[in-house]
């Protein structure tokens, strides 16, 4: 009897669940890639993606534009992700968006509900009649129904690097990101080629800041003149105190490409300069195309990044408890996976969520794992139940109720789903 009583003692199991599975957001007859997801202070959710419409196929320009000739769409949910409104097109001119999974357009929500968007755009340099890549900005002040005429925020330089930047661009201001701070300021960052030469193949980090909600931007400003990985997208987020944390891969003279986070104060001064996030040195003379995801909660900063320098390459998670001044040694999120890559990170009051795409057997799936705010893993790796198909390129955001929501691409369409705010403990009584 005692035995049965013992057996009947409740056992706490840690389970995760995927909540509120939705139908794909993007139309069935279009190719949709490179999702991003954001939330504004109204609690509205925006999911944005790059659309390769069938009618855009073909080289319209007569130039080699790095083979990206795409549109940008946003779908808004005003009910916490249960339903999404009809997607709205962001760019005004067809096909001007230079977007792909490794250089995806970015969206952020502001305190006043405005949606702010940055993307790299195809232009033809007016003086050279050659393609150039520039960073563009637009916003929606009516809840994602219409978007301002996009405008260039990067300087279109007169240098002609078309023989050097393969794809024939005279210059490039791409791999951009955007973040919105509590003080209302907007910060755009991009990798700029203006100092590139046959002798200097790394990029520069440039920024443009708006302090009036995106109505105007200051002239672009150089943060780092060189040593920025020219093909690794930037990521950025802001602290409660309106500090900006921007991640990049720093290229050393001997070819190491380390994932770093730089902290910039509201006055524009760098407080923590390219702090290594704790991955093993990765020396590669190539195109990693690997961004560093970053999220912040008070003094805790979390990163997730693909590292090729480890004995077992894959996604590595690291945390800082001193605001990004230093990071703990990064740890693998998905040990023994065949592939783990393309991570995203989000944080709520108690947990950080890392999601990525990986392969264990069969095609790519989206996986996730949670960590406490000290950076310790909580529970095991979980797979998002997304049905058959190749699932990849997840992005995550934290909702006002603490739940996480992710979006990802799967077989040419964009999906979104809620995840729990923390590991769910379920008490199971054995009878």
């Amino acid at each position: 009897m005692t035995h049965f009583k013992s057996v009947a003692t409740t056992v706490a199991l840690v389970l995760y669940a995927t909540l509120g599975q939705t139908e794909p957001l993007s139309p069935i007859d279009h190719i949709a890639v490179a999702p991003d997801i954001a939330i504004n202070d109204n609690g509205d959710i925006a999911v944005m993606w790059v659309d390769r419409s069938p009618e855009l196929s073909g080289d319209h320009s007569g130039h080699d534009r790095h083979l990206s000739y795409t549109d940008l769409y946003v779908a808004i949910s005003k009910d916490g992700g249960n339903t999404f409104e009809t997607p709205a097109k962001v760019n005004h001119d067809d096909g001007v968006v230079w977007g792909q999974s490794v250089s995806r357009p970015r969206i952020v929500g502001a305190t006043d509900g405005t949606w702010h968007i940055s993307y790299a755009a195809n232009e033809i340099h007016p003086d050279m009649d050659k393609p150039a890549l520039t960073s563009h900005y637009t916003r929606s002040k009516d809840g994602g129904i219409t978007f301002d005429a996009p405008r260039r925020v990067s300087t279109l330089t007169n240098s002609d690097l078309s023989d050097m930047i393969h794809g024939g661009f005279t210059s490039a201001a791409a791999f951009q990101t955007i973040t919105s701070a509590n003080d209302g300021s907007l910060h755009l960052f991009w990798v700029d080629t203006r100092h590139m030469s046959p002798e200097e193949s790394t990029g520069a980090l440039y920024s443009a800041v708006s302090r009036d909600g995106g109505a105007t931007f200051d002239a672009d400003r150089e943060i780092f003149a060189a040593n920025v990985c020219p093909c690794c997208q930037l990521m950025a987020t802001t602290s409660a105190g309106a500090d900006v944390l921007v991640s990049m891969r720093d290229v050393s003279d001997d070819g190491y490409r380390q994932a770093t986070v730089t902290r910039i104060g509201p006055d524009g001064k760098i407080t923590h300069d390219r702090v290594d996030v704790g991955t093993a040195p990765w020396q590669i003379e190539g195109c990693p195309l690997k961004p560093t995801a970053v999220a912040v909660k008070d003094d805790a900063v979390f990163t997730a990044v693909y590292s090729g320098g480890e004995e077992e390459p894959g996604v590595f998670f690291s945390s800082s408890t001193d605001g990004g001044k230093s990071f703990a040694r990064a740890v693998p999120t998905h040990a023994h996976a065949l592939v783990s890559d393309a991570p995203t990170v989000a944080v709520n009051d108690s947990h950080a969520l890392v999601a990525w795409h990986g392969k264990t057997e069969g095609p790519r799936r989206v996986f996730y794992r949670m960590y406490d705010l000290a950076g310790a893993p909580v529970g095991d790796v979980q797979s998002v139940d997304s049905g058959p198909g190749h699932a990849s390129s997840p992005v995550a955001v934290t909702l006002p109720n603490g739940q996480f929501r992710i979006a990802w691409e799967q077989d040419d369409r964009i999906h979104t789903s809620a995840l729990p705010s923390s590991p769910i403990e379920i008490e199971v009584g054995l009878r």
Binding site: D64, L67, G286, V339, K359
Partner: protein, 171 residues
């Protein structure tokens, strides 16, 4: 019975297609770059069994890739007597035609035998050789005479490094 027959016929048709492909042999470096499927890729590689294959994943936008391809061509030429074949696969986006890849190939290294992927998912094609590929370019595989990957090399390397890797596979 019917299902078996259909499967048999499908296999026969597929085999015939592969056989035709094999009869046709490798594409010529002077022809426009052709997009290939995983099945095509498997057929191309299986035709090379008995040879040492240098398989190079590259892209038109990858500067280090473009720098190392001439070195790979030289390795192939220097070790021709050892049945070494260089095969490229461009991982450029397969959105439009392959004209831009052909233009780049013809302009910079006209002797480079290369194919392009026919699917938006890069991983789809490379999985044939390496299910754990991390989507970094350049990536070069040295494939031994039995068709197995002997060495995976990532990032641009020197001519000497490539030659040493191929010689190790020959031995």
């Amino acid at each position: 019975m019917g299902a078996h027959l259909i499967r048999y016929l499908a296999t026969a048709v597929l085999s015939g297609t592969v056989a035709l492909f094999c009869v046709a042999g490798l594409a010529s470096a002077s022809e426009p770059v052709r997009q290939i499927s995983p099945d095509d890729f498997e057929a191309i590689l299986s035709e090379q069994q008995g040879n040492i294959v240098i398989l190079n994943l590259w892209a038109t936008w990858c500067a280090p890739c473009l720098v190392e391809i001439p070195d790979l061509l030289k390795v192939e030429a220097d070790l021709k007597d050892h049945d070494v074949t260089l095969i490229g696969v461009s991982v450029d986006e397969p959105v439009f035609s392959t004209d831009h890849i052909t233009r780049m190939r013809d302009k910079r290294f006209p002797d480079f035998l290369t194919y392009a992927r026919d699917n938006r998912d890069t991983d789809y094609l490379v999985t044939v050789v390496d299910p754990a590929w991390n989507e970094v370019v350049p990536t070069t595989y040295i494939i031994d005479r039995a068709g197995a990957v002997h060495t995976r090399i990532q990032g641009k390397k020197s001519l000497e490094e490539f030659k040493a890797a191929v010689l190790a596979a020959i031995e």
